[in-house]
Symmetry: C2
Subunit: 338 residues, 2 copies
């Protein structure tokens, strides 16, 4: 199957150069990147790739509501629209996450019964990948949203990662059910009653071990946790390099462990994952790091194609419980998080 991936060529700190290079790197028999952006800017850089002209650009710090009102002809909105119109199977952007969420809602729309789309981010855990959901789409969430994230994460883990009956943990501050904040205490009660393999609270200290297949939390907590993992990995490996370089003995040792360290670093590098899926829409969206290099964009593009090949959106549409069955009154306002 040939997957057409709409790539927001103007999204991210290193756009358009690195984004275009990454899209080119991901191109294969099965993956066809289509670049969205101002043709006069992009065409000279990508004479070999398909381009759709989208003259406007959404800034990294522009307000999502402003962008939705004034920038419908931007690369970010136009690439989402291409998915809605059937001109592409999936979209990849390293641009403004809030604007991307708004574009997804406005151009693609939510699946029936989904109240809040959420970002499912793979964590490079030691025992194999875990899923953290929500990794940043909803800075404020209600308990029933967390339950829906749990369902979406479970379907994701089964269909994309291939786990059988993945377990679900609620990210909190103690393993006992009575530990947590108001949000997690209420979500814990809901999750216990849901048709999920819920194993209770899980803690930050085991996130990178991968004890839990699907880790559920609000987007604020998830984003803090994910960035803390990334920053800590970088700081620890950097500090180790520094310590090693401070003695001759260490330098020789460092030379000898280089292959081993390189393998680990590559596995833990956020660029290797490439990004997270925005789940809950009628089409598929992959959100890459704002700082993405060509390597990250290439991996995010491949990840996007994989999601299409596995029919991720179709599985979510078919398998998500309806709001009537599981969630409570008051769900479905569909307000966009910041």
């Amino acid at each position: 199957m040939e997957v057409r991936v709409a790539v927001d060529a103007m999204g991210g700190d290193r756009a358009p150069g690195e984004v275009i290079a990454g899209a080119r790197e991901a191109r294969s028999e099965d993956v066809v990147p289509v670049l969205f952006g101002p043709r006069d800017v992009i065409a000279p850089l990508a004479p070999d790739l398909e381009i759709v002209d989208a003259p406007q650009v959404v800034g990294m710090h522009e307000k999502p509501a402003d962008a939705a009102r004034e920038k419908r002809d931007s690369s970010l909105f136009a690439s989402c629209r291409a998915v809605a119109d059937g001109n592409a199977h999936v979209v990849v952007s390293a641009g403004n996450t809030g604007a991307m969420l708004a574009a997804g809602l406005v151009e693609i729309g939510r699946l029936p019964d989904v109240s809040r789309p959420a970002i499912a981010a793979p964590i490079p855990a030691m025992r194999g990948p875990s899923i953290l959901i929500d990794a940043g789409a909803n800075a404020d969430a209600r308990p029933e949203h967390l339950m829906q994230f749990a369902h979406m994460g479970t379907i994701f883990a089964e269909e994309i990662i291939g786990l059988e009956r993945p377990n679900v943990g609620l990210l909190s501050i103690g393993e006992e059910p009575e530990k947590g904040n108001l949000l997690t205490l209420e979500a814990h009660a809901l999750l216990e009653g849901a048709d999920l393999r819920f194993v209770g609270n899980t803690e930050g200290r085991t996130l990178l071990e991968g004890e839990t297949d699907v880790v559920v939390c609000d987007g604020f907590t998830g984003n803090v946790a994910l960035k803390t993992i990334e920053g800590t990995i970088r700081s620890v490996l950097g500090a180790l390099r520094g310590e090693i370089a401070s003695s001759t003995r260490g330098k020789l040792g460092g030379f000898l462990i280089r292959p081993a360290a390189r393998g680990l670093r590559a596995r833990l590098d956020p660029e290797t994952t490439g990004g997270g899926y925005l789940l809950g829409l009628r089409g598929l969206v992959v959100i890459a790091h704002g700082s993405s290099s060509r390597v990250a964009i290439a991996n995010a593009t491949r990840m996007a194609a994989r999601g299409v090949e596995h029919g991720l959106v179709e599985h979510l549409a078919a398998r998500l419980p309806t709001s009537r069955a599981e969630t409570r009154a008051g769900v479905g306002s569909g307000a966009v998080g910041p």
Copy 2:
């Protein structure tokens, strides 16, 4: 000065054996540990240390409110009472954090104008120690609480760490002021108007770098972030060990870098820090990890003595802005967090 440190001998997963051993290890000319617990249990293990009989024991998962009602004769409550009564200068416990907070409030009481005591935890950041506050006392907090945490953290960083005019960051999900959840958006506005060196939002990815001297957040977010740092450090160093051990070349390299790696591991080990200070009470409380070994207890005991020597409580009492001056109506209800 001789500092009398009340040690809750029954607090923590490895009590009383490791706790007593740690207290003994910390004993010096200036540090006098006083053990609290059932005399018949403790005396055989500590014939060489001062003991105050406290027959009850608070379980690690006991509800704080229940403990406050029924366990006033526990090691946990009695050791706090000793501080209030002047029989000890400071208390150390690796026990139930919620019960410890309750005991602090009930037995020692809050400083005037403090609405919520908070845990200030040192982070072993690369550029020298940072302070994370609140690391877990208040799972739910209001914006004005975060501002008070910022003041307490600043005074801590100046008086204990010796930083001059430390900078304060708000832990959030993007550096721009408009990124965050409802709590941080409102807290950001308050912090901007406060007499603090507020540098705006800070992110999880730089926590271990130490760009920010005082990192402010609610206790849920702080606890998740702190445990995520600890778990990630352990996972990364463990994975590196595994990679190195998988080849002969790696094993030789691993042998050569051992001294360098050992230094780094010791610096990053939570046991080296020992614990966090519970700030905002009329007396000083140090809360150690539940899993503390004798090394951690010894370090927490020394940390407790250091806080007394530096007059931490006196500095907080003298320097914290009054609620009238800086906080808004509605503060001061003093409800205990979960």
